[in-house]
Structure formats: C-alpha cells, structure tokens
C-alpha cells in the first residue's frame, strides 16, 4: 500500500519505505541495505563515528535541536562506569506523530541507529522508552529486537567486533512529561517521571546515576544514513546550520494532513499550501503552529520562511518537533489556546510551583474568558503569570504552557477582547 499523501517534492531519506510492509521484517530490511551502516560503524573507531555525526550537523529531532554528535562527545571515554543510551520514543507533543511512523514502518532503521549510537558512546545497554499507548508499535519493536538478537546485531560480540550491547524496549504509562529526557530517565528507573535538576546532565549522571545519552527516534534513525554515506552526502540537503531532511507531522485544517519529509531549506509556506494542499475549500488559514503546541503560533503572513531551525526562529517561532498544526478561520483562538493550556496543566508533573500552580491558573482564567466572564485586566494578568512561569522551572513544560497564551495574545488580541467585551467569538462557523 502506498503511504498516504506522498508528494513528489518530498526528499524521502527516512520515510522511503513507509507503506512497504516487506521493509518491516529484518529480511526485507537487509534486502534494502539495512545493517550495512552498522557493519561499517563497527569497523570504525568510536570517535570517528562521533566525528562523522558531528560533521553532518545532525541536530536533535525531539524539539530542542541540540547537535547530536556534540551530545555524544560528552560521554566519558574511559569505560570505567556502566553507561547507557536511551531512545526517546515517548512521542507525546500535541500535533506530532512522526516517530511512531518511523518505528511502525522501519523498526530496524531505528534499532540500527541505536546500536551505532551505543557503539559510538561506548554504552553497554540501550533502552527504547516508548509511549505505552503505542501498543501495536511496541509489538513491532519487540519483534524487531528479537530478530536483531537472532542475527547477531545485538547481544554479545556483535558481528564479531567484540562489542556487546543489550537493548530493552520499556513502555511508559502515559505521562507527557516522561518525554522530557530526565523525566524519561526517572520513569525508566521506576520512579515518577519528574524531570531532574540540570546540571548534572544525563551524559554526566543519567540512568541509574550513570552516563547516558538520550536521543529522539528520528535523530537515531538518521544516523545509519550519515554513517553509511558520509557527512557531505547528508549536507546536500538543508542549510549550513540545519542540514539534512526532516519529517513534518502536519495536521489540523489541511486538505492533505500527514507526514512529509522535506529538506530543511524547504519553504514553510509551500509545505502548508503545496504539499498539504492548504486549508479546506472555502476556508482561510488563521495561523500555523510549526513545531508542536509548545512553540509560538505564526500568522499566515509569517509563513514565508524556510523550515530550518534558524528560518522558523527568524519568523518568530521554533521548528520544535516538526509537529505542524494549521488552524483556519473556523477556529476560536481562545478555545484552542485554552485546550492546549489544559493539556499542559494536566501533564505538569507538579514539582515546580510556577508550573503546577501557574498552568492551573492560566486554565481557569482562559476558561472564564472563553465563557464571556473575563475582565480586561485578565489580559495583563495572563501575560504576567505567563512571563513569570517561563524560564524559572526545572524543565520547559512551564514555558510550553505559557507560550501559546503569550503568542496568541500578541497576535490575536482582538479575539480575546471580543470574548471579554462582547461575550462573542470571531470564529466563522
């Protein structure tokens, strides 16, 4: 079956085999060239593997965009303490659904990336921390892990290299915050998924108090391609600061929502209007959230930019996870923001005061505005609470909750004022 909504302008490095059932099993994967990158990596010194990933400019695809090779280089090289790699497959950012497709269609692409990464950072045990809700994908991954052990890609003395690695698939229990890398580590250890104070960073003190590298699924899936073909090959796509291709999970008011893989120098506007087909017939787009619900919303006038990290930042938002949410003129912005903030209020781990209390107050104030019970003073109050929630907590969830509030007030204050002054809504139903 053809993967829904392919588009000829895509550059399908990661998603090439999406929709091909034969590519899921290990035989099909090997037929398609799978695990040759691993063989090559195991024949290369660890630091050289790190170097090629550094040279490729691959940046973390989970949202923060931290250079992957640099992250790996923080791991100790003396081999004195046990160390770990954790693949963050707890994909839960609203509007993001790319990792699950990578794991569903190409589990071995992900596993191969994990093994190479683990080899490079000298880890003895790797974990895939996956959302418990991905029940079917957990089955796919577990099957793929068994296959990889059977073929000698995992376990003792991998492919005769002398390198040993175990890989465990660990299911989460449905908390968004377990996707934060240190929350993930706590959850992996059997604790509440409460993010840890940083520093120390995971490369110093991660899982079980030992050095750990945490990488996103998409990041790790990109690794075999880079190792096999080299950094220059990878840099044929994208920009100097944002090389390569990226999957965009496009959803919301679009004619053809879905996952699209494009080079990082692609136009955001074309992604929305060309690949995704723009808004439904007869509708105008109001705005687009380009990188998951925790990045600022862009108005239609701000879409004329590259999808690179720096391009979207220049436009006033962030690339984030690449979860693109489009909203057309049928959207009540107050309601949409309230729904997003409610999500964060629900998912706050409750550790830090600004987040635990702040998300709850934002929700309550937004609710009363949406109901038509708001007061004009609520706007500065929202901005005040929002600004004091940001940048003062252990993890960025508090910032994430404040972002849609602050950015939507900046860009759609009229909609708020309509609710407050007239008790009406500007959405076109």
């Amino acid at each position: 079956m053809a993967y829904p909504y392919e588009h000829p302008r895509e550059e399908r490095m990661l998603s090439r085999y999406f929709g091909e059932v034969d590519a899921i099993g290990i035989d099909g994967w090997i037929e398609r060239g799978g695990y040759t990158a691993l063989e090559k990596a195991l024949g290369t010194a660890q630091d050289d593997v790190i170097q090629v990933v550094k040279d490729s400019g691959l940046r973390g695809r989970g949202g923060a965009g931290f250079p992957a090779g640099l992250k790996w280089s923080f791991m100790p090289k003396d081999g004195k303490a046990p160390s770990y790699v954790a693949c963050n497959a707890d994909e839960s950012e609203p509007g993001t659904f790319k990792d699950r497709e990578l794991m569903r269609w190409t589990p071995h692409q992900v596993i191969e990336g994990i093994i190479i990464a683990s080899y490079a950072v000298r880890a003895q045990h790797a974990y895939i921390y996956i959302r418990g809700e991905f029940v079917d994908i957990v089955r796919v991954l577990n099957g793929a892990v068994v296959e990889a052990y059977e073929r000698g890609y995992l376990g003792m003395n991998i492919l005769g290299s002398g390198y040993d690695l175990d890989l465990t698939v660990h299911t989460g229990a449905g908390a968004y915050i377990a996707g934060e890398e240190t929350g993930l580590l706590n959850s992996l250890e059997g604790r509440r998924a409460e993010p840890r104070v940083k520093p120390p960073f995971p490369a110093q003190k991660g899982a079980f108090g030992m050095p750990t590298t945490v990488n996103n699924v998409e990041t790790l899936a990109s690794v075999p391609h880079i190792v096999l073909n080299g950094a220059d090959w990878y840099r044929q796509w994208g920009t100097e600061k944002s090389p390569g291709t990226k999957l965009f999970s496009c959803c919301g008011h679009l004619q053809r929502p879905g996952n699209y893989e494009v080079p990082l120098d692609f136009s955001l506007k074309e992604l929305v209007y060309d690949l995704c087909g723009g808004p439904p017939e007869g509708r105008e787009l109001l705005g687009v959230i380009p990188g998951g619900s925790s990045v600022p919303i862009l108005t239609v006038d701000e879409l004329d930019c590259e999808v690179s990290y720096e391009g979207i930042e220049a436009a006033g938002s962030f690339l984030g996870s690449g979860g693109l949410i489009a909203m057309d003129d049928s959207t009540c912005m107050v309601r949409a923001v309230r729904r997003m903030v409610e999500f964060y209020a629900h998912e706050s781990c409750g550790q830090c005061t600004p987040c635990r209390e702040g998300t709850s107050w934002l929700t309550k104030i937004l609710r009363r505005i949406e109901r038509g019970d708001g007061r004009e003073e609520d706007i500065p109050l929202l901005l005040d609470v929002g600004s004091n929630m940001a940048g003062s907590t252990i993890c960025p969830l508090s910032d994430s909750a404040a972002v849609p509030v602050v950015s939507s007030i900046q860009k759609f204050e009229d909609e708020y004022m309509a609710h407050i002054r007239d008790g009406s809504c500007t959405a076109k139903r």
Binding site: C349, G350, P354, R356, W361, N388
Partner: protein
C-alpha cells in the same frame, strides 16, 4: 563500594558583585550564605538533599533559565545575581500563586506561629484579598493520625516531608500522587495518614514550612516558640540518647512540644516516643504524697483484682488506682522516711546486711545510680545491688569484660557510615533504637553492605543486602560456621591477630567441625549462604557489628557475644573508623548506671568488689568498711526473697513485677518480703506489694547526666516543676542514708557528679559545664577541646596481657525446647511505641492511642491453622503461666514462633518466660521458651 568523595578543590565566583571562594560542590545558596546573603526559599532545608522545586530561590546566572540556588552548584567564574526586579517579580508571583489557594487558617501559624509562606507574604506585602487569581477547588484535611494534623490545603508541595521520610528516617511512607494541580503528598498508596505504615516519628511535621503537617496538641495547646521557654535536654527513653529541646509553658508547668536538636548522637532526629511521649509526666496518676500501707492491708498480697487472678471489670489498662489506693494512707515525709529507714535498719541488725538488697534503675541519672549503690554498699553494708542491665546486656558485658577488658562499645553507631560492612544481629533496631537505625539505614543506602541476622524479619531487615533468617537460639552455630569459612578461606587478619589477640589455636580447633553444612542443620541457613555472607564480612575493609537482646537474652547469651567478639578479632575490625563492637544499649542510662556501679560485683567504673585494692579505695572515699563479697544479681535477689534470705528491699524506679522472668514467682517473692520500699513516679504493679511508697520526680523535673549507648555523657535539664510533694530521687536516697546513721548531704546533682567522676577514671575531667550542649564521649582526656574518644582499642586492650582473647564456644540449645505439649517457641521484647513495663508510655496520650492493647505476633499461616480470626485472641501457656491476648498475623515471624511484647500487665509476657539464667552474665532466657498456643474467645 561507592562512597561520597571528599573534595578539596575550590571555586571562585561572584555573587551580587562580591567575589567568594568556596569548595567545589557548594551550592549557590551556601556560597551566598558565606557572604551573608540570604536567599528566600521554601523547599530548602539545610538538613535535606536540595531539590529546587519551589523555585523561590531562583537566581540569575546569566542563562536563559533562572537557576534554583539551593541545588545549583557553583562554577568557576560564575556571576550570580540574587536580587533584581525580574527575580523579585518572579518570587512575588510565586508567593501569590501559592497564597491564592492557601488554607484560610494555617495550623502552623496558629500553633508554632512560624508559617514560612505567610512570612514571605508579609515580606512582600501581599494581602490575600487583593490577589486577582481565582481560588482553587479546595483540598481536604486528614486528621487521622494520632500525632500529626495533615492539611492538604496548606501544602505547597515543597517535598520536604517526602525527603525527611525517605532520606532522613528512611521510612518511605510519604510520596506524591497525581499530576499538575491535582498533585498532593500521599501516604503509602494514598490512604489516610493514620491508616498508613507511618511510624509517627514526626520528622515530616518537623521540617514542614507551612500548615500542611503540624504536631497535634498533647498537654496544652501548641504555642509560638518565642512565647515559651526552651530547655536543652535529652530523651528519657532509649540508649540512643537523642538530644531534644523541650518547649515549656511556665504558667501551665508543662512541656508543650519537643524538637530534635543538633548532636552527634541524633542529628536532630527523633522517634515517636522522643517526640510525642513526654506527656506522661503530667499524667493525673502521678504520685504526689508519700504513702504508707494501712495496717489492715496486711498480710501483704496483691491488691488489684487482676493480680489476684479475679476477672477484671474491663480488659486492659494500667494498675487500677481505685482498687489499690485504699490499701495505703497518705503520710508526711518525716513519717514515711523514718519508717523506711528504721525498718531497713532493723532488718540489717536482725538478719545481717546481706538480708537487704536494692534495685536501682537505668532510667535514673548517673548521679542517682552512683548514690544508690553507695547507699546499698556503704549504708546497707552489702553488694546486693543491681538493676535492669542484668536483664538486657549482662551477658554481653560479661563476654566483653572477659575478652577485651571493657564492657562498653568500641565505636559509636553513627560511624556505621564509614563501614564497608555492617552486621546487625538480634536487634529489632528500627523499633528499639529507631534513631540509631536511621544511621544504619543511611549507610546501607550509601554503599555500606548491611547484613542482618535475626530470628524475626524486622524493619531493619528490609534494608539489608543480606538477611539471614536464622532459627531462634542457633546463633553460636552460625557464627562458628562463619569463622570456619573465614579461617578455611584465609580471610582473617594475620597481622592484627599476631599483634593484638591470643587464644586463636583453641578457636581454630573448635570451629573446625562447624562446617557450613553442619551449621545449616542447626540454624536453617543454607551452607552456601553462610559461605557467601562470611566472605562479604571477611573481605570488608572495615566492619562494624551491632547486636541487641536477641544475642544477649539467652542462657547462651555470653557465648553468643563471645562469638561476635571472635569474629571481629579474627578480622581485625577494632579501633579503626567503620569498625567495632556495638551492643546497642536499651535504657537511656543503662551504660551510665553500669558505669556508676549499679552492679553487684563492681564499684563505679567497673572496679572489682573482689579486688582488695578497689575495696580500699572506696572504703577510704566513703569512710566505712565495705563487704568484700560480690552481691546477688536481680534474679538471684528475687529468688532470695522467695526463700526468705532477702528480707528487706529498696527499689528506685524498677518494676520487677512486669520486667522480670517467671512473673508468678516474682509476685510470690515480692509478697514474701518483710519490708519493701518503692520509690517511683507512678503506683506500679510492684508497688502493690510495698510497705512504703515514696513519690519521686520524673525525668523532666530534675537535673542529671545520662550516658548513651555510644558512651556519650549528656546533661538532662530540669524542664518543669515536680507535682505535689514529689522529691528528687537523690534527695530521698540521702534521707534514707542519713536516717540509717550515715550522713549524706549534697547541694545539687552536680556535686554528686563531681564525687562520682573523682572515683571513676573513665569520667575524669567531665563536669556539667563542659558537657553542655551536646555531651562528651568517655573517656575524654581533654574536655576543653575534644568531644571524647570515639574509637577505643586501636592499640590493644585493657586486659592483663593487653591482648583480646578468643573464647571458643560450642553450640548449646536453649534451656527449654518445644515439645508436644508446648510446641511453639516464645520470644519476647519491645515494640516501637512502648517502653518496658509501660508505666510511662501507656500514660502517654499519643503512644497509648497508637498501641492501646497487647498483641502477640505470629505467622499468619500458624494463625490460619489454629483457626484464629484476623485480630482474634489466643491463649498462650507455658509451664509457668498463662495469658490471653490478641494475635496479629506477622509474616516476619517464622512458623512455630510467637513474639509477645512485655509492656502490658494484662497480658504480661513475663508470666510465661523462663527464669533460667546464663551462667556467666546471670541474664534470664527472655528470648526462648516453649509455649502452647490455643484459640481463645476474648481477653480473659
């Protein structure tokens, strides 16, 4: 072994424009403190691991995100701004966020008046009514705990209680539940605190900054600290000797609340008894007037219906004053003291000094113990003086004196942190020495390998890396087998043995036959496990051995202790950090009372009665000639009373009616005495048999020194005035002595202490001034600058040869083994909430509320087999007596075993126990006898 490394590296940084240099690893908070900069905070407490969750202490370090000062470590060249408009706005918003949903009335503000959130609000000038944020849905209160009020509405989720519970006390009861706004602290799996596994140590309420967790009122309403007097003292209960500040309401003459204070022995920690068990002193049943038995109440016998064997009106409870008091009449001090002195004198003249005996108490101070033994020795003219140490560690002391020449611990319990391996054997540490247990649990969580050996799987076993659940009374076989393995595998310290020990050949010969396979048959531990644990012990760089009554209260108690000493000598684990022998002492002053000579065979500081030199020294000091023969021990004195050789007794604070083995025999013996003078704070079961009862002062009403298990001598200070005519124990001893013709007069307890220390070389140099505030360890050659000697015997032992002696011993079974008629094994001891014979703790509101009734502990499978319902009753019978009490299913008790706490007169464990003695320590076998268990309808 992963231990925290100490660092000497330093870091220089700038805080608010000022440069400061601090050790690496210091937090910004502490570095700022160095400069005198106070950063506001709610979740941080210097005693707890910082977590940085309240975010009140955030500072600007020039990063995108503000850093929590309490948890962020300093870095070289870091520039920190602790105060700015942005930070102030942030902190102000935080305060508003917390306050807008805060409890309308803060229980902390109402009680101790130190609610930290309300104080912050005052600092920021925030009026609650002016906050524009919508109020929350309200969060509930939980008043289910007998000692702590929980108000979730006043909880700011600062995590302090969780860390106090998890990391200070290691009880792991409190956690978080829910997410976001629904987050809440929870007990166990979110049950009410009173229904949880909380042990009511109160550490959580002590660290809580708000009204969320507060102490309940005990005697009078809790009031702000600054309206109360604070008295620095110690705890009156166990041998840990926790340092306590008592906050006293002078008008009400009552302790209002207790707080742990800084001390090397307790690090401000307390347990439920120390924190909430002080109110007994104000109980209405305190004795306030001297009492004399009425003429018509002779011949003597039991007075209360329970003791007479009649059916009680209602089950449970303490001595029924209504039943007992009519047998006595009030008297003046003159009359009572004259009567006591005259009767004792008459007996001495008629039957000789050895017809008299005295029981002192390890609950009394060093001064009282010293004076009491002086009275018996110098005035009664006999060495028949003993106290409850006989019933707890007499065998340990006998073994220690025999092998290493000193009866005290060689190292303090807190040094367990430096041990590679710690052994805890025969000790239910979490219940009997709860605060010492916190140090052991700390160490176990931080890299010390903990080996627990016990016939019961108790609380401390849950923290063990190796738990050996041995069969009761099989200790010697196990330790001999461990030594067998150590010798066979050459895990012994040859250098140490060459330099500091003697008698190894005998030990090697004896343990040859104790193969792990042979020991397995006796102690029930698989041979491989014995080998494994022996290797762990043998390979340790440092090992510390703790033991309790499970070792000592056997007819083989001395043998058990000899084995432990041999294990330690064999591996050279004495005299270095993290090594040593530590018999955990029971009473708050059992070490001190023994040091003070409340023992029939030794004068103060273990100077032997049988030594003419010592005799001469004390004859000169006291100006009388002394009896050169060692006196009788506790059980021997009771036996003497039964056969009539002991005719007159003076008891200061002891209650043998409940505490001594074979209770029915004790009762007959007490009734058989010609004269008994009881000096106590309550009318005890023993006092039913008294001719004269003298009301004494409680711990809280007097000055005195107390020596803890570590050998730490601490000053107990007077907190409140005594009730009615009650007088100091030492004054009463002086009165009796003087009336018997030996003039004794002291101005103060301090003066008595000076006399005692002049005769006890170990205490030399100590006085009340240098003992404050945290006490000193004896010996303390230089009290002006030193805390005392922590590690003893690094360079040999105070024995004749200067060497530690191996005393090899064979395994012997207990004296009374189970048979067809009495098929179960009876074990007795204490529980967390109660103290010995319950006279204090059962009159403490909180402790009585938590554990109001006697209950034995049995394996649930045994109870099922006997058809006993959960919480149903059982009848326990031995060859000596029968009691009926509730049975609690306790999986940690092995099948075929019964554990009975001895605090409860209505189901007195010692009616059942066997008074057979260890031949060396003369300690009775409290931990083992044969018992029959039958299902019973209800309490008899």
């Amino acid at each position: 072994m992963i231990k925290r490394a100490k660092t000497t590296q330093t870091i220089t940084l700038t805080i608010d424009g000022r440069e400061v240099t601090v050790p690496a690893g210091t937090t910004i908070w502490d570095a700022a403190k160095e400069l005198g900069i106070e950063i506001p905070g709610l979740c941080h407490d210097p005693r707890l691991r910082p977590v940085g969750v309240c975010r009140m202490c955030v500072v600007d370090v020039g990063e995108r995100v503000l850093a929590a000062a309490c948890v962020r470590e300093v870095a070289d060249g870091m520039t920190v701004q602790t105060n700015s408009e942005k930070l102030e706005r942030c902190r102000r918003t935080l305060t508003e966020l917390l306050l807008s949903d805060y409890a309308t009335e803060s229980l902390r503000e109402q009680k101790t008046g130190d609610d930290a959130l309300l104080a912050l609000a005052r600092d920021y000038g925030i009026e609650r009514s002016a906050i524009e944020l919508p109020a929350g849905d309200g969060r509930p209160q939980d008043l289910s705990s007998p000692v702590i009020d929980v108000d979730h509405a006043a909880c700011i989720l600062c995590d302090r209680c969780i860390r106090a519970c998890d990391e200070v006390q290691h009880n792991n009861v409190i956690g978080r539940t829910g997410k976001g706004y629904g987050s809440r602290v929870s007990f166990d799996f979110n049950v009410p605190m009173g229904d949880s596994t909380c042990v009511a140590c109160g550490e959580c309420a002590a660290v809580c900054p708000t009204g969320a967790l507060t102490d309940k009122r005990l005697i009078v309403p809790i009031q702000p600290r600054n309206e109360l007097d604070s008295v620095q003292s110690v705890c009156p209960y166990c041998g840990v000797g926790c340092a306590i500040t008592y906050h006293v309401d002078r008008d009400a003459n009552a302790v209002v609340f207790a707080e742990g204070r800084e001390s090397p022995a307790s690090d401000s920690r307390l347990c439920v008894k120390g924190r909430y068990g002080f109110d007994y002193a104000k109980h209405p049943q305190r004795l306030t007037v001297p009492l004399i038995r009425r003429d018509d109440s002779y011949p003597k016998g039991p007075l209360s219906s329970a003791v007479k064997g009649e059916r009680r009106k209602k089950p449970g409870g303490l001595v029924d004053y209504d039943e007992v008091m009519p047998a006595f009449r009030e008297a003046t001090w003159e009359e009572a003291l004259d009567l006591a002195a005259n009767r004792l004198k008459e007996i001495k003249e008629k039957d000789g000094p050895s017809a008299l005996a005295g029981f002192g108490s390890a609950k009394c101070s060093n001064e009282e113990a010293y004076l009491f033994q002086k009275l018996v020795r110098a005035v009664f003219g006999t060495n028949n003086v003993d106290h409850c140490t006989r019933l707890c560690h007499a065998s340990s002391v006998a073994a220690l004196l025999e092998t290493i020449g000193s009866g005290a611990v060689t190292n303090v319990f807190a040094d367990v942190h430096n041990a590679d391996v710690a052994v805890v054997t025969g000790s239910n540490t979490t219940e009997n020495h709860p605060v010492a247990a916190t140090f052991i649990k700390d160490a176990a969580a931080d890299g010390t390998t903990l080996i627990v050996i016990d016939s019961r799987e108790t609380g401390i076993a849950r923290h063990a890396h190796h738990f050996l659940h041995i069969k009761a009374g099989s200790d010697v076989a196990l330790y001999n087998a461990m030594m067998h393995v150590l010798i066979e595998e050459d895990l012994v310290d040859h250098d140490y043995m060459r330099d500091f020990t003697e008698g190894f050949d005998g030990l090697r010969e004896l343990v040859k036959k104790y193969t792990p396979e042979m020991a397995q048959e006796i102690c029930g531990i698989p041979a491989d496990r014995i080998r494994e644990v022996a290797r762990v012990f043998g390979r340790a760089g440092s090992a510390l051995v703790f033991w309790g009554m499970g070792i000592s209260q056997h007819t083989t108690g001395t043998d058990n202790a000899r084995c432990l000493i041999s294990l330690v000598l064999l591996t050279g684990n004495v005299g270095r950090p993290g090594t040593g022998l530590h018999p955990l002492r029971g009473q708050n002053n059992v070490q001190g009372a023994s040091d003070a000579g409340l023992i029939p065979m030794v004068y103060p500081d273990y100077q032997k009665v049988a030594s003419p030199e010592s005799q001469k020294k004390f004859e000169e000091a006291w100006g009388v000639s002394l009896d050169p023969n060692p006196g009788l021990t506790v059980v021997e004195i009771i036996n003497g009373a039964l056969v009539g050789s002991i005719k007159g007794m003076y008891m200061m604070g002891e209650n043998p009616f409940l505490s001594d083995p074979n209770g029915n025999k004790v009762r007959k013996a007490l009734a058989n005495l010609e004269f008994l003078c009881v000096q106590d704070i309550f009318l005890t079961e023993t006092a039913e048999f008294a001719d004269v009862i003298l009301p004494a002062t409680s711990f809280f009403e007097k000055y005195g020194t107390y020596t803890n298990s570590d050998r730490r001598v601490q000053v107990g200070q007077k907190a409140i005035e005594p009730p009615g005519q009650a007088r100091f124990d030492w004054e009463l001893v002086c009165e009796i002595a003087t009336r018997m013709g030996y003039s004794m007069s002291y101005k103060s307890a301090e003066e008595i202490f000076a006399e005692f220390t002049s005769l006890a070389p170990s205490y030399s140099g100590l006085d009340y001034e240098n003992l404050k505030p945290a006490g000193k360890l004896w010996p303390c050659p230089d009290p002006a600058t030193s805390d005392g000697v922590q590690l003893l015997f690094g360079d040999g032992f105070p024995t004749e040869s200067g060497r530690g002696k191996f005393v090899p011993v064979d395994y012997q079974p207990a004296a009374e083994l189970p048979d067809d008629e009495y098929p179960f094994i009876l074990n007795t001891g204490r529980i967390l909430e109660h103290w010995h014979t319950g006279t204090m703790t059962r009159r403490s509101k909180a402790l009585d509320a938590i554990e109001p009734e006697a209950a034995c502990q049995m394996n649930p499978d045994d109870l099922t087999e006997l058809g006993v319902d959960p919480d149903g009753y059982v009848k326990l019978s031995t060859r000596r007596g029968t009691i009926t009490l509730r049975a609690r299913g306790t999986p940690g008790v092995a099948r075929g075993n019964v554990f009975v706490p001895f605090h409860f007169r209505e189901a007195s464990a010692n009616i059942l126990t066997n008074d057979v003695l260890d031949p060396f320590g003369k300690i009775p076998e409290f931990k083992f006898c044969a018992v029959k268990v039958e299902k019973a309808g209800s309490a008899a």
